[in-house]
C-alpha cells in the first residue's frame, strides 16, 4: 500500500536533475516511431489516467501525471497511431474532503471512465487503497488498469495478504490489472538479500508499525531473511504513535542484533528509531523499505546522526543508462522541479498502453475497432504480452499482472539526503 | 404573655431590642423545585446568643447556609451590619466576620488540627492577633493543643466538634453560626461545649446556633426562633419559649 508520506519525491532526484539535464540525446522509450502502416488510420482513440493530483498528493501525483502526459505528447508528436488521433482524459482521485487520495472518488472516476465507450485503457491508480476500490469496477468493464506505483502484493497475488481478497478484485476471473513496479514481496526479498549479502547481517531485530504496508513488508523481510540463512531475533509490532523505542532497541542490543529492520513509514518512526539506536548504543546496521525514503527521516534524526541508514525504494530511473534520456524529454514540456521518481513510471505505463493500442489497430487492418468491449479486451491481451524496454528498464508481466523487473534503488542516508548508491535486481520470488 | 400564643409575624419581625447585627428579611430558598425556606425573617442582635430550634428538615441548616452564602435565596435579603450580603460569595461573607461551624463539622480530615485552625484564619494577615486567637482556642480546648499535629479525621467526635468551633473562631468573627454543636456528644461533652459557647459570647462574639437539643439551646440563648417546614412558627425570648406548653410538647418532650 502506498501512502502519501512515503511517496514524497526523493531529494536525490531533484539534485540529480541538474546532472542529468546535461545528458544524452537518446529518444528514449526504446520504441519504434512512426505510424507503422497506420498512415491511413482515421478516427480517434481515448486513453485516460487516474492519479491523485491535488491536496497532499499534488506533488507526487502531479509529477507522475506529467510523466503520463509526456508519453501522450511524445506519441502524438511521432504519430504513433498514424492518422488516428489520441485523446487523453486525466482524472484526479484526490478529494477535497480527504485532502488526499480518496478511494471513493477513485471509484467514481472509474465508473465514469468505464461507461465512456471511447476509453480503452487507464493508467493508475497511485495508491493501493484506491486500487482496491477501482479494480472490481474496471475488471467488470473489461478495462485495462495499469498502475505505475501500487506495491501491495494483495492486488495481484491471491492469499499474499490477509487483509486483501485478491479474487474479489477480479470478479470476472480475468486479469485486467497490471503494474510496472514491483510489489512488497519482492521488496521484502530484496531487503533481506541486501541485508544478508551486502551488509553481512546475520541476526535481525524487526520492528513494524502495525499498518498494512509496514507489517506486510516486515513479514516478507522476515520470511526471506530466514530463507537466506539469517536469524530473526524478534519481530515486534508497535503502533504508529510510538515515540520511544528504547526498550526494544536495548533488548536488541542485549540479544546481539547486527541488523535492525523497520517495516513502516517515516511518519511512524523511521528516523526516531535510527537516532534512538545511537542513544542506547545499538551499533547494528539499519535497513528499511521505501516508506523510510522520505525527508521526514531527517526531521526526526537530523545532522550527522542521520547518516548511515539504508533503505530500498523505487530506483531513480534517470540515473540508469536506460532512463538517462527521460529528464530532457520531461523537461521539454514540464518544469524540472515537478519531476518525481514516479514520473518515468508514469511515462512508461502510458507508453505501454499506447503501444498495445497501436498493435491492436495494426491487427485490425489500420482501423479503430468499432466494438468498445472487444477493443478493450484486445488491448489487455497486447499488454499482457508486453516486451518493452522503457526508461525504468525491461518490462514483462507474469500471469498475475506483476512486472518481472525487480529493480530496486538502494538508498543510503547522508547529509540530510537519501542518495541512491546502486540499483539492485531482487532475487526471483 | 406566656399563656397566649406567641406572635407570628414572619414579614416584619418584632422591633429589635438591641442593635441588629444580622437580619433576614423574607427569605425564600428552593432546592430545584422544592421550596426549603418560606419567607424567613429573623434578626440577631449584637452580643446575643440566638437559637434556632425545630425538628429535622425544618430548614434550620438551610437558613444558616443561606446566611453563609452557600445557598442563594430566590427572594429576600440577608443583611449583616446593615448591608446586604446575600449577593456575595461564601468566602467574601466569611471574610466579613461570619464564622460558621457547619453541620457534620466538615473538617479537613486529612489535615492536622493545627492546619484546620490555620484554614479558619485563611483570610487574616494580622499575625499578632492571630497568635492570640490560637492561644484562645487552645485555652478553651486544651485537648486540641495536645492533638494539634494529629490528622483531624482521626479525632473522636467531641474533639472534631472542638476543631470545628475552633476553626470558626480563628476567623475572629463577629457572628458565629453553630450547626448542632452537641450532636452525637456525651452529656458531659455537651455541657463543656456549651460552656465554651457562653465564653465565646462573653468575649463579645454574637452567636446564632441550631439545636435539636432544644432544652440546652433555650437554656443558653437569649432569644429563640422555632422553625417548622421551612418557616418560622414562633419566636420570642428563650425563657418564654421554655415555658410555652406547645414548645414543651413539641421540642422538649414534656
Amino acid at each position: 500500500m502506498h501512502t502519501k508520506s512515503r511517496l514524497i519525491p526523493i531529494l536525490g532526484a531533484v539534485a540529480l536533475a541538474l546532472v542529468a539535464a546535461c545528458g544524452t540525446s537518446s529518444t528514449g522509450g526504446g520504441t519504434t516511431s512512426g505510424g507503422g502502416g497506420l498512415a491511413g488510420c482515421t478516427g480517434s482513440v481515448t486513453v485516460a489516467s487516474d492519479l491523485p493530483t491535488s491536496g497532499g498528493d499534488a506533488a507526487i501525483g502531479g509529477g507522475t501525471e506529467n510523466g503520463v502526459r509526456a508519453a501522450v505528447l511524445k506519441a502524438q508528436q511521432e504519430k504513433l497511431l498514424g492518422g488516428c488521433t489520441i485523446n487523453y482524459i486525466p482524472k484526479n482521485d484526490a478529494s477535497v474532503a480527504k485532502g488526499e487520495h480518496d478511494p471513493a472518488l477513485g471509484a467514481q472516476n472509474m465508473i465514469a471512465l468505464t461507461t465512456n465507450p471511447a476509453v480503452v485503457g487507464v493508467v493508475g491508480p497511485f495508491n493501493s487503497s484506491v486500487a482496491i476500490a477501482e479494480m472490481p469496477i474496471a475488471n467488470r468493464a473489461g478495462m485495462l488498469l495499469l498502475s505505475p506505483a501500487n506495491t501491495n502484493p494483495g492486488l495481484t497475488i491471491a492469499g499474499s495478504r490477509p487483509d486483501v481478497d485478491t479474487n474479489s478484485l477480479r470478479p470476472t476471473g480475468k486479469v485486467t490489472y497490471y503494474r510496472i513496479i514491483w510489489n512488497d514481496i519482492a521488496q521484502g526479498a530484496d531487503d533481506a538479500q541486501i541485508s544478508y549479502k551486502e551488509l553481512n547481517a546475520r541476526k535481525a531485530y524487526i520492528i513494524d508499525d502495525q499498518e498494512a504496508y509496514g507489517k506486510g513488508l516486515a513479514d516478507f523481510f522476515e520470511k526471506y531473511f530466514k530463507q537466506d540463512g539469517g536469524t530473526v531475533l524478534k519481530h515486534v509490532a508497535l503502533p504508529g504513535t510510538t515515540k520511544d523505542f528504547k526498550a526494544q532497541l536495548t533488548e536488541a542490543k542485549g540479544l546481539g542484533a547486527d541488523l535492525l529492520f523497520f517495516g513502516g513509514v517515516a511518519a511512524n518512526g523511521s528516523g526516531i528509531i535510527y537516532c534512538q539506536m545511537k542513544d542506547v548504543g545499538l551499533t547494528a546496521k539499519y535497513m528499511s523499505g521505501d516508506g523510510t525514503v522520505d525527508p521526514q527521516f531527517f526531521k526526526d534524526c537530523a545532522g550527522t546522526n542521520g547518516d548511515g541508514a539504508y533503505a530500498t525504494s523505487a530506483p531513480d530511473a534517470t540515473k540508469t543508462s536506460a532512463g538517462a534520456g527521460f529528464t530532457p524529454l520531461y523537461d521539454a514540456s514540464f518544469a524540472d522541479s515537478s519531476r518525481v521518481v514516479y514520473s518515468p513510471y508514469g511515462y512508461d505505463a502510458m507508453r505501454i498502453v499506447l503501444n498495445a493500442v497501436k498493435a491492436v489497430l495494426v491487427d485490425n487492418g489500420g482501423k479503430v475497432p468499432t466494438d468498445s468491449a472487444s477493443f478493450r479486451s484486445k488491448v489487455i491481451a497486447k499488454v499482457a504480452a508486453t516486451k518493452y524496454d522503457g526508461f525504468v528498464g525491461h518490462i514483462e508481466f507474469d500471469q498475475n499482472g506483476d512486472t518481472t523487473n525487480h529493480a530496486f534503488g538502494l538508498y543510503s542516508s547522508k547529509g540530510g539526503q537519501w542518495t541512491q548508491s546502486e540499483v539492485v535486481q531482487a532475487p526471483p520470488v | 404573655m406566656s399563656a397566649q400564643p406567641l406572635p407570628v409575624e414572619p414579614e416584619s419581625p418584632p422591633e429589635p431590642a438591641v442593635e441588629p447585627l444580622l437580619e433576614l428579611r423574607g427569605i425564600d430558598v428552593y432546592y430545584g423545585r422544592v421550596q426549603a425556606l418560606r419567607g424567613i425573617s429573623l434578626y440577631v442582635g449584637k452580643g446575643e446568643i440566638v437559637a434556632l430550634i425545630g425538628s429535622n428538615g425544618a430548614g434550620k441548616t438551610t437558613t444558616l447556609r443561606t446566611i453563609s452564602g452557600l445557598v442563594r435565596p430566590a427572594r429576600g435579603e440577608v443583611r449583616f451590619e446593615d448591608a446586604p450580603i446575600h449577593q456575595l460569595g461564601a468566602e467574601q461573607i466569611a471574610r466579613l466576620g461570619i464564622g460558621h461551624a457547619p453541620e457534620g463539622r466538615r473538617l479537613f480530615s486529612r489535615m492536622t488540627v493545627r492546619e484546620n485552625l490555620e484554614m479558619g484564619a485563611f483570610s487574616r494577615r494580622d499575625t499578632r492577633r492571630l497568635r492570640e486567637d490560637y492561644e484562645r482556642v487552645y485555652t478553651l480546648f486544651p485537648r486540641l493543643r495536645e492533638r494539634r499535629g494529629q490528622l483531624a479525621g482521626s479525632l473522636s467526635g467531641g474533639e472534631q466538634q472542638m476543631v470545628a468551633i475552633g476553626r470558626a473562631m480563628m476567623g475572629h468573627p463577629r457572628l458565629m453560626l453553630l450547626d448542632e454543636p452537641s450532636l452525637g456528644l456525651s452529656p458531659i461533652l455537651v455541657e463543656a461545649i456549651y460552656q465554651v459557647i457562653r465564653e465565646i459570647n462573653a468575649d463579645g462574639t454574637t452567636v446564632l446556633l441550631i439545636e435539636q437539643n432544644a432544652l440546652m439551646a433555650l437554656n443558653t440563648a437569649r432569644r429563640a426562633y422555632v422553625m417548622e417546614t421551612g418557616s418560622i412558627a414562633t419566636s420570642g425570648p428563650a425563657s418564654e419559649l421554655l415555658d410555652s406548653p406547645e414548645v414543651q410538647r413539641a421540642y422538649l418532650g414534656m
Binding site: A247, A266, A302 | R106
Partner: protein
C-alpha cells in the same frame, strides 16, 4: 424477627451476611493495602531478574533506566491529572494535549528568541553555560505559557459546569482535548515536528554498574524529581497549597473559611499545567520532535499512573509514573512491545478492581 426473611438470609444462614460485609468492606481493603505493594514489588523484581538472566544484568539495568526515564515524563504529566482530580474530581482529558501544546510552546519560544537575535539552537549546544542559560530562559517561560493555557481551559470550559452532573465536564474535557489536537494538527501538520534541540544535552554523565547514564537521562529524572518534591513542599507548606488541599477535601468548608475557591482551582490548573509544561520541555529536548497527537497516549498512560499511585495523591502520582514507566519497559521486553499498552491498561484494571484507592491512597474516616 424470625419470620422476617430477607433475600440474603434466604441464601445464607443467619449471621453470615454481616460477616461477609465485614470481609468485603474491612478485610479486603486491608488485605490489598498490604498485599498490593508487595505483589507489585515482587513482580517488578521478578521481571528484572528474568531480563537479567536472559539478556544480562547490564541490559536489565539499562531497561530499568529506560523505564525510569520515560516514567519521569509520565510522572510530570500525572501530577497535573492528580491535582485536578483531587480538587474538582474531574479527569481532565485535555491535560495530555496541554502537554503536547507545551512542547510546541517550547519549540516556538526557541524560534521567538531567534527572532530577537538570541539563537538558542546554537547557543545551547555551544557550552555548558549557554545550555544553562537557555534552560533558565525556557523553563519558566514554557511553564508559564502552559500554566496560562491550563487556567484558560478551566475558565472557559470547566468553571461553568462545576455544579453540573459529573458527566458534563468530562465530555467537555474530551471536547477540549479534540479541539487542542485539531489546532495542533492544523498549525503544525501531521508529521513529527522537529524540536531543533539536536545535541543540546548529550554525552554520558556516568556509568552505574555497567549502565551508561546519559546527561539527558539526568536532565529528565532530576527535573521530575525536583519538581515533584518542590510541589510536595509547596502543597504541604504554603498558604495556597494548603488552600488547595482544603478545597480538595471539603469545598464548602473551604468557602466558609474564606478561601476563594475559583482562584484556588485556577491555581491548581496553573500548577498542574506548568508541570506538564516542564515535562514537555524536557521531552522536546530528549526526543527532539513532537507530534500533534502525542498527548493522547501520554495523557492516558499518565492518568493510569495517577490512578496507580492513588488519584489525588501527589507523591502517589510521581511514584505511579515511575512504576508505569518501568513496568511498561520491562513488560515490553518480556512480552513484546506490542503488549505495552495492554500491560499499562491491565495495570489500570487491576488497580481499579483490587485497590481502587491506589498505592498511596488514604482512607481516613471523613466524618467519624
Amino acid at each position: 424477627m424470625a419470620q422476617k426473611t430477607t433475600d440474603a438470609a434466604a441464601v445464607l444462614p443467619p449471621g453470615r451476611q454481616p460477616r461477609l460485609d465485614a470481609l468485603r468492606l474491612r478485610l479486603l481493603p486491608q488485605l490489598t493495602a498490604r498485599a498490593f505493594p508487595i505483589i507489585l514489588v515482587t513482580a517488578l523484581v521478578g521481571m528484572f531478574l528474568r531480563i537479567a538472566t536472559t539478556s544480562g544484568g547490564e541490559i536489565a539495568g539499562e531497561q530499568l533506566k529506560n523505564g525510569l526515564q520515560i516514567g519521569a515524563i509520565y510522572a510530570l504529566i500525572a501530577l497535573g491529572y492528580t491535582m485536578v482530580y483531587g480538587i474538582i474530581e474531574l479527569i481532565n482529558f485535555a491535560h495530555g494535549d496541554v502537554f503536547t501544546l507545551s512542547a510546541f510552546y517550547a519549540i516556538l519560544f526557541g524560534q521567538l528568541f531567534g527572532f530577537f537575535g538570541l539563537n538558542v539552537t546554537t547557543l545551547a549546544p555551544s557550552s555548558a553555560g549557554g545550555l544553562i542559560a537557555c534552560l533558565l530562559l525556557l523553563f519558566p517561560i514554557t511553564m508559564l505559557a502552559a500554566g496560562i493555557t491550563g487556567v484558560l481551559i478551566e475558565r472557559v470550559a470547566y468553571r461553568r459546569l462545576r455544579q453540573s452532573p459529573r458527566l458534563a465536564p468530562l465530555i467537555t474535557a474530551v471536547g477540549v482535548s479534540f479541539l487542542l489536537e485539531g489546532v495542533m494538527f492544523a498549525k503544525f501538520g501531521a508529521a513529527n515536528y522537529p524540536a531543533r534541540k539536536d545535541g543540546w544535552v548529550h554525552g554520558t554523565a556516568f556509568t552505574a554498574g555497567g549502565v551508561p547514564v546519559r546527561w539527558n537521562d539526568v536532565l529528565v529524572l532530576s527535573t521530575a524529581l525536583g519538581l515533584m518534591f518542590a510541589l510536595q513542599a509547596f502543597v504541604r507548606g504554603s498558604r495556597l497549597g494548603k488552600a488547595m488541599r482544603a478545597t480538595a477535601q471539603d469545598r464548602d468548608a473551604a468557602l466558609l473559611s474564606g478561601i476563594n475557591i475559583n482562584r484556588t482551582i485556577a491555581a491548581t490548573f496553573f500548577i498542574g499545567s506548568a508541570l506538564a509544561g516542564a515535562g514537555a520541555l524536557v521531552y522536546s529536548i530528549y526526543y527532539n520532535s513532537v507530534q500533534w497527537n502525542l498527548g493522547f497516549r501520554y495523557g492516558i498512560i499518565a492518568f493510569t499512573a495517577a490512578v496507580l499511585g492513588g488519584i489525588g495523591n501527589i507523591v502517589g502520582a510521581g511514584l505511579g509514573g515511575f512504576l508505569i514507566g518501568v513496568i511498561s519497559v520491562f513488560g515490553s521486553q518480556l512480552l513484546g512491545g506490542e503488549w505495552e499498552n495492554s500491560i499499562v491498561f491491565a495495570m489500570l484494571i487491576i488497580v481499579l478492581t483490587f485497590r481502587p484507592v491506589g498505592l498511596l491512597g488514604m482512607r481516613v474516616p471523613d466524618r467519624a
